[in-house]
Structure formats: C-alpha cells, structure tokens
Point group: C3
Chain length 291, copies 3
Amino acid sequence: MTPAPASATSASAADDRYARGLAALSLVTGTERPAVLDSVAEIAPDLARFTIEFGYGDVWSQPGLTPRQRQIGTIAALAALGNAAPQLRFHIAGALNVGCTRREIVETFIHATVYAGFPAALNALAAAREVFSARAESESDAAGSEPEPESAAVPATESTPAADRYARGIALLQEVDGPAGPGVVDSLADLAPDLGRFVIEYVFGDVYARTGLDLPTRELASVAMCTALGTAGPQLRVHLRAFLNVGGTREEIVALLTQLAGYAGFPAALNGVTAAREIFAEKDAGPDAAH
Amino acid sequence: MTPAPASATSASAADDRYARGLAALSLVTGTERPAVLDSVAEIAPDLARFTIEFGYGDVWSQPGLTPRQRQIGTIAALAALGNAAPQLRFHIAGALNVGCTRREIVETFIHATVYAGFPAALNALAAAREVFSARAESESDAAGSEPEPESAAVPATESTPAADRYARGIALLQEVDGPAGPGVVDSLADLAPDLGRFVIEYVFGDVYARTGLDLPTRELASVAMCTALGTAGPQLRVHLRAFLNVGGTREEIVALLTQLAGYAGFPAALNGVTAAREIFAEKDAGPDAAH
Amino acid sequence: MTPAPASATSASAADDRYARGLAALSLVTGTERPAVLDSVAEIAPDLARFTIEFGYGDVWSQPGLTPRQRQIGTIAALAALGNAAPQLRFHIAGALNVGCTRREIVETFIHATVYAGFPAALNALAAAREVFSARAESESDAAGSEPEPESAAVPATESTPAADRYARGIALLQEVDGPAGPGVVDSLADLAPDLGRFVIEYVFGDVYARTGLDLPTRELASVAMCTALGTAGPQLRVHLRAFLNVGGTREEIVALLTQLAGYAGFPAALNGVTAAREIFAEKDAGPDAAH
C-alpha cells in the first residue's frame, strides 16, 4: 500500500505535491507504484507522506539539476556519511534508473576515497556490487529490459605512465583550482610535504585524472561529500570554487545544497549555503567578477 | 553474570556509584538484573563497570532531567549519529520502559528528518519498528504486563489544510525562535529562496506543527541532535535559544549536554557547553535578561 | 586473484609502489598473498590497485610511525567514525598481526568512550570480540602458530581506591596537559561543574589512569579520534599539545595525520595539519620553545 495524502479535505496544493512526488519517486525506482515506503507507512504514515511530498515533490522535482546529477550528488553524500546503507543501495539503483552508468557510479565511489577515506569508499562499492548483481539477475530473468548491457567491471585505468603522476596531478590541480591550486599544496611543504605530494599524485594524478566521470560531475560529487560530512569547511570552499571553474553554475550549487537538506539534514545544507554565499561574493568581487 | 565492582577493597564511594548505576540501568531495561553488559564484561570487565558507574551511576542518576527527557535526548542523539544501531534499539526500549509513548518516539524520529536527514530518520524508525514488534510479541506472551495498549501506528497528522503550511510555519517559527526567527529565513532569500521556503513550510509548517511531542521536548531533541552531530554549530545556538524560549531551563540544557558526553563523546559535550555559555551570556546581556 | 598493476607499460616507479604496498599489506594481513581486495578488484580493479599502491605503498610504508602505532591510530579512527565495521575488524586483526596485544586493543576502545562515546566504544569492542574469537578458533586448529597465548579477557583494573579518583585524575591531567590542564576544567565550574568533575574523575581518574596503554599511545589514539571525527577542533589542539608533552614527536604527528587521509579522508587530514601547525608554532614561540 502506498500511503495516501493525509486528509481528504486538504487543498489541491497537497494533492499536487503528493502526485508530483510520486511521479519523481517512480523515476527513481523505475516502477509505476513505488512500494519502498510501505513499511514506513505502517508505523509512521506521515513520515512516508513527507518523504514523497517534501523529498520528491518539493525538492527532487525542482529545476536546477538533472536527475542524473541529483542521483550522483545523493550517492556521493550517502557514501561519505557511511551510515545509511539501505538508502545508499536504493539510490545506487535510482542512479541506474535515471541513466547513470555503472562506470559513473563506481567512479563516484573511487572519488570518495579522497573525501571520506578508503573504508567509506570500499563500503559504498560493496553496496554497488550488491545492486549490480541483483540487477544482473533480474535482467537474466527478463532479457531485453535493460538498454545498457554494461559489464559490472570497470576497465583498468588508462595506462598513463606512473612517472607522470606528479606532472599530471599539477596540471589537473591548476585546471580545477585555478592559479591558487598549487598554493594550497605549497603551504604543506614546511610541515607535511609527503601529504602535499599525495594530494598532487594521488588526488589529482590518480583520481581526478581518471575518465569515466567528467570534471563538473567530479566537483559536484566533491561539493556533495564535503557538505554532507559537515567537517570539511575549508575544502567545501575550495570545491565550490572548483565546481564553478570547471563549468558548474551557481544555480546547480544552490539546487544541490537544497537537495542535501533531505539527505544530510537542514543544518548541513544551511552551512553549505553560508559557504556558497562567501564564494559567490568572492567571485563577484574578484578579477573574474564577470563570471 | 552482571559485572561486579572491580575491587573488594574499593571504598564505599565506588559501591555507591555501582549500586546507583545498577538501579538506574534497571529502570532503563525494565528488569531487576540487567544482563545487557554481560558480553562486554567477558572481554572488558572494566568497560562494563564504567558504563554502569559512570554512565548510569554518575550521569543518568543526576537531577536536572526526567528519565523520559534523558531517553528522548539519547534516542535523538543516536538517531542523528546513525552509527550505533544496537544502542539505539536498546534506548528505544528504554524510552518505553521509563514511560515515553510510541507516538513520542516516532515523532522524535520524524523530527530527526530535519537535523540529520531522511535516511537517518528512516533507519531510526526501522529500529523502532523492530523494538515495537518484539514488545508486541512478548506482550501477547504475557498479557496484561503493559499498561499502554498502544497501537504502533501513529495517527495521520491533523488535517490542516495544505494551503496553510507557509502561514502555519511562519507562526511557529516566531513562537519558537522569537522575533529573530524569520530573519534567518530572510537571509536565504537572495541565494536559496526555495531552501528558505522549505524551512518554513517543511520544518515548521509540517514537522514542528505536529502534535505528539510538545515544543520543549522537540527543542530538547533538536539540541541533542545538533550537539551529537557536532557539525551544526550555528543551528545548535539557534536551538539552545529556542529551547529557553519555549520553557526549557538552563539546568536542563547543562544536564542534557552532560548526558551526551556518554553518547557522543566528551568533545561534543564540551563544545556544546561552549555554545551554551555564549547563549546564556547573550540572554543575560539582552533585553530579556530577567529570564 | 590479487589485482595486478594496471599497465604493463608503466614505469618501474609503479611496480615499486605496488610491490612495496603488497609487502606492507602482507604484514597487516599476516599472509603472503592478501586476498582481501579480490572482491573489490572484480568491479573496480583500479580502486583495489590504489588501495595497495597509495594506502600501503605510499602511506603505510612511510617512516615516522611503527606498524603498531599505525594500527592503533587506524583502529582508534575507525572506532570513532563508527561506520566502517568490516575495515575495523580487518585492522583489529592487522593490529594483532603487527604485534599489538589484545589488551592494547581493548584499552584503545575503552579510551574511545571519552572521544566518541560509549556506543561507538561498545561496538568497536564487539568487533574486537569477533576477531579475537575467530583467531582463538584458528589457533586451536593450528596450535603453536601464535606466540602470544593471551586471554581475551582484560584483567580488572588496578584496585585503586575509588576515593582517589579525583586526586588521581587531577595529577594525570597535569601530567598530560601541563599546567594549563586544570584550567580547562575550571572554566566549566560556573556552568557545568559536574561535567568538569566527570572530566577529572572519569576521563583522567578512571581511563587515563589505566595501565595497558602507555601515555604516548593514549594520546596518539586521542589525536587519531579527534582528527577522524573532524568535530572536535578544540580537543584536537589540546591533544596535539598533550601528545608532545608525554613524549610524542612532531614527526609522529605528521605521519599519523598523513595516514588518516586514507581512513577519514583528505579534508580531515588537512584540517589536522592546520591544527598541528598552530600548536607547533605555539610551542616554538612559547616558554618551552626548546622542545
């Protein structure tokens, strides 16, 4: 049973929100009548309704981000939080349902090693493996229902010579962060030079250099993870700038932060807006104020 | 086997703490001889003892909060942290044992959507469903042992017209946050107006407007969640003010923050006290210094 | 199948990193050919490779910390994060494999009650119990393979009179934090005196007073937990100072923070370096600049 709107007397506004939410949720679940909230509705029917009306009717249905961007942002945030495995699996399936590829999902989690650590990334990948396997089985039951006969395995990375990791990393760091990028790493030279080197070699030379996720989507994932964690204030600011540098828009940032209110809570979203306001003002005041 | 105090030579102070802790723990478990720490005691007897002496003998037994307030604060914090499912289930059962209703527990988790996001709230609700089901079974085994023949299902919300969500939200925002409340939302108007609208419509119009949890208890849960997360500094300050606005006391705040040392760690509690000191000083200096 | 380096054309630098990483990983797993990443390699071969090359070849193999220090720091961080149970179990086993004792592991988790709360500590202890039990079984299958016929049970604490908790706590607080230590607690006297008392009696009188983990290792665990949580800025600074006070070195701090990039993410590590830079500058400028 899908929960019905609470009140038969409620105005059409509520019906609209519920109907719009259900339509959005159907896109994510890939089914006409999503059953995912039925067990919630048994004990907290209003929470099931809020999830549909607010989460999908108000937020997910907003313009500003494509469904694929929303799902990448959501799985990035849930991977970083690391404490909501059922929802992570649900939204990995949702990402596939709105057109993300397995490769993009796996790349998002490889990207998560940087922001949330290897354990969080490995656990998210384990969730992806479960979802991919379940899907492979249901596909073999109903052959032809999946337009993308994609292998679960991601091709090994481009055989870029290992000796180039540092040079490749520096180039990408400048592309992503602008002229200020290497400065961040230079500031580590006195105290933790190896950590600075790892930022260049691993974060940029290994991870950012990968294909499979374009730079704007990488930065969208970075912003989503730093916002959800709530503990990465300086890095959130770096990546808000970087997202704009590689072609992202302010509208996408605001839509992403609003989306994250539902997944990481309103405080995380509101603190993200505070950071965004600073970066937007800095851009307006700076040499590239014409942005 | 319940762990015994470590040393036969310890002074009566330790015996008192242990006995007082065991009595408090018995209230939470609803059993005379709680067995919950037996498996801990097998490998770390001192940790079992510390849990009883410090967690229950020192902290839980303090004045300043009622047992129901303690349990609501604890389940709110554990729901927000999202990484301690066994303890969350234990303290949901404990909340029932000290007199909280199922409705209050469910409402606390609906409230958690705001501070920790929907995934954390849905997972806490799943934990509540398990505890309620287990209790329903043991009740049918021992009929009459439960004074509250309460349905697990929460009644659907009052059929307030959906069209009133904004107006209802604004009114509640002013009641809770005082005249400064709408200012917080106004500050989002330039950058993320939809997020500001969602704060009014969803947070206050939908969630705070619900019955089933009185406003002081809602704000106690808000303070517990923001303190435990440790990432919501501005919001913690807003809700410390709000808790005092709706009738909470400074003594309750201090007792709650002290309780949270055991559930979210001393750093979270100490950072909460720093925030509380600021808000108390602001109140002392402000127009309502007579509080 | 252990994942092979991605490219046959890659320079010997990559081969070195991979070989060095595999050797380090073998120390942690206690096996010649670690299979732990095989399931990762099925779907994300590059992530398996990065884990070995970066996590073990670059970071774990660095000088600056002993293998035992690395494993204590890692299990402390994972216990505090509380959201990576498979990795916590893996690194508990790894801690045993590099020579940490069961007692040290259990003490690290008792220590975690202070920084991450009792639920996180109890769940980490449950993970330890699983690892210890599995090891006990495999030992009985292959008798004599374990040089340390250690009981899983930790001896009950030294029978220090309970009446001395406060005095013992104050003395340890001064030893660890220097003359400034009691000042931190004094600052709570006006507002939350019981919380201040608990810091002295429980944190220092009960936990820090325990044998089984020497003070530098305790402070290493404190720094690891505060860094990984990312929400304990003031406390991270207190414990960076304390680690230096009890004999830790700046080199160890930098190596630990670098190690944590892999477990809690680069933002956590970079924010840790910012805090370390402050404390090192303070030491250089202060009366004990000769440190």
